[in-house]
């Protein structure tokens, strides 16, 4: 007769078959509901559905209007944001006047009364660039030399013996170097401690550093910013 193992095999197989059968049965025997409504009931139902349809259409219209409103608001906001960004970029590029806490440096000639000899009437570009580097190192945010705003593209160079900041010649002494920094006090202390004044002294120039001032006004850059090497980024979404 059947051994114990064989019985279990048969049981297992029939269990699986039963399971599959039941699932198949359930899948293929979806209960189908017969429609027993007469024509009047169907008409009433139709009316109900039509009302629902109307209601839904109204809702859709309402939401579309809301959506449109939001879109409009968003595009307006976009404009505002763009304007804000432009302002920020202008500020960063140095096209706006800046007011803030900072220090003012005065540069004047320093000659002994008994001095006889050639007198330099300009400050060397080398020295001025060194000063700019030092200022940047100490956390200068906005700088102007003799009311010429220093921007990223500013050049300080020697043209025929005259030092020029961009195209403005530094010929008349004294002139001011205005610096705005986030922490004017710190800036002042660092400048005091640096040897930059000694370097100026070597060129017979006296560099005076003012006490930190609450209000330093730095004028905007008055030239035009020429963009030669930059290109607009292609819209990646296209």
């Amino acid at each position: 007769m059947l051994t114990r193992k064989t019985t279990w095999h048969f049981t297992f197989v029939s269990l699986i078959i039963g399971f599959m059968l039941a699932i198949q049965f359930q899948t293929s025997h979806e209960p189908d509901v017969r429609d027993t409504r007469d024509i009047w009931e169907i008409r009433q139902d139709l009316k109900k559905e039509q009302e629902l349809h109307k209601q839904l259409l109204q809702e859709i219209r309402k939401y579309e209007e809301t959506l449109e409103k939001y879109e409009q608001q968003r595009s307006e906001n976009k404009g505002a944001i763009l304007r804000q960004t432009v302002e920020e970029l202008k500020k960063e590029a140095g096209l706006t006047e800046v007011v803030g806490e900072g220090v003012v440096l005065y540069v004047e000639q320093m000659y002994d009364e008994s001095y006889v000899g050639p007198v330099s009437d300009t400050v060397s570009a080398e020295l001025l660039r060194r000063l700019m580097n030092e200022l940047n190192m100490y956390g200068a945010q906005y700088v102007s030399i003799a009311d010429q705003r220093i921007v990223n593209t500013t050049v300080i160079r020697d043209i025929n013996g005259v030092t020029k900041v961009d195209s403005y010649p530094l010929r008349s002494f004294p002139f001011e170097i205005k610096v705005i920094a986030a922490d004017a006090e710190k800036m002042y202390n660092r400048l005091k401690a640096s040897t930059i004044a000694d370097d100026f002294a070597l060129e017979n120039l006296l560099l005076t550093i003012s006490e930190p001032q609450q209000r330093v006004v730095i004028p905007p850059y008055d030239g035009t910013v020429r963009v030669k090497q930059m290109e607009a980024v292609e819209d990646a979404r296209r």
């Binding site: 269990l15 699986i16 039963g18 699932i23």
Partner: protein
Amino acid sequence: MMWLPLLGLVIGILLGLLTDWRIPSEYANYLSIAVLAAFDTLIGGIRAHLQNIYDEHVFVSGFFFNIILATSLAFLGVHLGVDLYLAAVFAFGVRLFQNIAVIRRILLTKWLESRQKNRL
């Protein structure tokens, strides 16, 4: 011990009904062919057992192999655009009938023999 497979079948059906599983209708074909294959194997196993040529390895391996073969045949048929599952239905159907016929004859012979013995 004969009632255990029957009990298994009943438990399987109950399990299937209670879990309330439903497969997507596009796979119903595969399941039906799998059920057919499983039935074929089960009936074949019963016949082999009655003829005393039953081998459990053949039975168990045949069970799974037939199911897989039948469903993959149906799958292939769907992708080739030929109703290949009909081949499986035909093969299993014919075998099912033959096996049931053999079982019937064996049982009939046994019954007749036992009746003759009782008469004697």
